[in-house]
Amino acid sequence: MLAFIISRLLQALPVMFTVSLISFAMFAYVGDPVAIMLGQDYTVAQRDALVRELGLDQPFFVQFGTFLGNAVQGEFGLSYRLSRPVSDLILERAPATLELAFTAAILALAVGVPMGVYTGLYRNSWLSRFFLTFSLIGVSLPTFLIGILLILTFSVWLGWLPSFGRGDVVQLGWWSTGFLTWSGLKALILPSITLGLFQLTLIMRLVRSEMMEVLRTDYIKFARARGLPNRAIHFGHALKNTLVPVITIAGLQLGGIIAFAIVTETVFQWPGMGLLFIQSVGAADIPIMAAYLMLIALVFVTINLVVDLLYYAVDPRLRIGRGGH
């Protein structure tokens, strides 16, 4: 088990290394940090001093090594735009994004899986047809449009829910949470629906097709021939087998939720990392972009590991017969 985790972590290293290289290349070759930091008027001496200070006169690998060393410690330098440490800025914004992504993921799973099971079991009921039509809409409408339509309906016309921001947040150490206030919870509803809808419909369709596949297998027929109640067959035998492939896809989708919160955060002016990233792109604020890129890569790598562990927990065939792998 431990060996399994370690081997997975080792496999993640090349990925993280490559992403760091891209981030660093962005740092070194996109835009000219010296020009950005010095502004319009500077002397050659001032320029050379800054180049030395930033280490830009060093060979490529030395620069990259320094960058890596700093990155491992969460150190990405100062934001060009805000002149504050990138790590502070990201830490400040992370709770907003993570709470939004978490709520959206729970929503996608808690609604998507039961809808998938239902439509897989009762293929021809009118409710199934309705769900499938609904899911087509979810897949085909772009996220920003869904967000705007929700704002229009629930904020502008009905006036029930706020159209932007996080509402009141409570500070728990460095973590700011919107889960503990009424306005914070209300502010979460529309953005998390917007962010989770695509994943919800995707998970529903995936669970549905897997469920239909599993229901045709011999072991389900044999379970019926043994006279097991439908409840045990559908929600025990069938659902468990359905979840094996669903875990992978759903896991990667949840990574996507964090990565692609950018659009939703922009539509709802949600003060998270995605909004910070978009603002940084506009201002060519490379340190923030580089740090964001690496963070997202880290999120994907972590989720991959968790998915593998879940797989391992669900499917006994992986546990035995491969030498503890």
Binding site: D218, F222, A225, G227, L228, P229, N230, G321
Partner: protein, 319 residues
């Protein structure tokens, strides 16, 4: 009185191009503790008959006529839930491929225990003890240690033993075994059949045993039914059918049967092929292949009629 009574069973598959009749006028019965062998070419309707009996025909297939009685009580028209209580408890089933019949994500102990707690008034602890007992009975070595193993940890033959335990563990009175050894290695087929037979005899369980193996039929069955194109063409005591078959198709099948102590694995080839369901010829369905066919065979369909010591659906035996 017989345990199972199938009368004039007709199974249809509505399709876009019209209704296919997969089983027509199938009648037979099985006495308590009796083993009925069922043989016939692939596609003859053997599996379909078994599926109809356990009430698990795959839609759109449906019973369109006739009746099935267990202990005199009709079971072909029961609501799903009532039939569910009969499956496993009164009628057990064994499928062909043990590699796919067990749920890969549940331990064999759990699958046994859930079957027993579903049907018998026992708790999980008792069920687990009995599960170990069943595994020992079907010949799984070190049953107590292996009860928490998953199906993939067993060989095909061992898995089929587990399947047999699963089919028998709620002590049904009838087992429908559909080619239980076809998917197994030839070297272990005989052991598994011997196990099945001895357990059935020991527990007094009746069995409908579908197989391709004429040797198995000869050694195991009390009576034999021969199926062709969705019908029973001959049925009677095993020795009679094997040695003195009266229907030309059955004679063809049995033609190669050597003395009972030698084994023949496959049915002898008969020239031609069984007709598809959509193209069953009028009269006797066997007439295009039958060396003894005459005029009547091509226009009028023969029903089962007494022929020697068996019943055969063949005009050669018309009174």
């Amino acid at each position: 009185m017989s345990l199972l009574d199938v009368k004039n069973l007709r199974v249809e598959f509505p399709t876009r191009r019209g209704t296919l009749v997969a089983l027509d006028d199938v009648s037979f019965s099985i006495a308590p503790g009796e083993i009925l062998g069922v043989v016939g070419e692939s596609g003859a309707g053997k599996s379909m008959t078994g599926a109809a009996i356990i009430g698990l025909l795959e839609p759109p297939g449906r019973i369109a006529g006739g009746e099935i009685r267990l202990d005199g009580k009709r079971i072909d028209n029961l609501p799903y839930e009532e039939m569910r209580r009969i499956r496993g408890r009164q009628i057990g089933a064994i499928f062909q491929d043990p590699l796919t019949t067990l749920n890969p994500l549940y331990t064999i102990g759990r699958q046994l225990a859930e079957t027993m707690t579903t049907h018998l008034p026992i708790g999980p602890g008792e069920a687990r003890e009995r599960a170990i007992g069943w595994l020992e009975l079907v010949g799984i070595p070190a049953a107590r240690e292996r009860i928490d193993s998953y199906p993939h940890e067993f060989s095909g033959g061992m898995r089929q033993r587990v399947v047999i335990a699963l089919a028998l563990c709620a002590e049904p009175r009838l087992i429908v075994a559909d080619e239980p050894t076809t998917a197994l290695d030839v070297s272990i087929q005989a052991q598994v059949i011997a196990l099945l037979k001895s357990l059935a005899r020991e527990k007094g369980t009746a069995m409908m045993l579908v197989t391709h193996d004429m040797g198995v039929i000869a050694e195991t069955a009390d009576r034999v039914a021969v199926m062709y194109a969705g019908r029973i063409v001959e049925i009677g005591p095993v020795r009679e059918v094997v040695k003195h078959a009266n229907h030309p198709y059955a004679q063809g099948l049995m033609g190669s049967i050597p003395p009972l102590d030698r084994r023949v694995d496959r049915l002898q080839q008969i020239d031609g092929a069984m007709p598809r369901l959509s193209a069953i010829p009028p009269g006797c369905a066997y007439n295009p292949r039958c060396p003894q066919a005459f005029d009547r065979c091509r226009v009028q369909r023969p029903e089962l009629m007494p022929a020697g010591a068996t019943d055969a659906a063949c005009w050669l035996h018309a009174p």
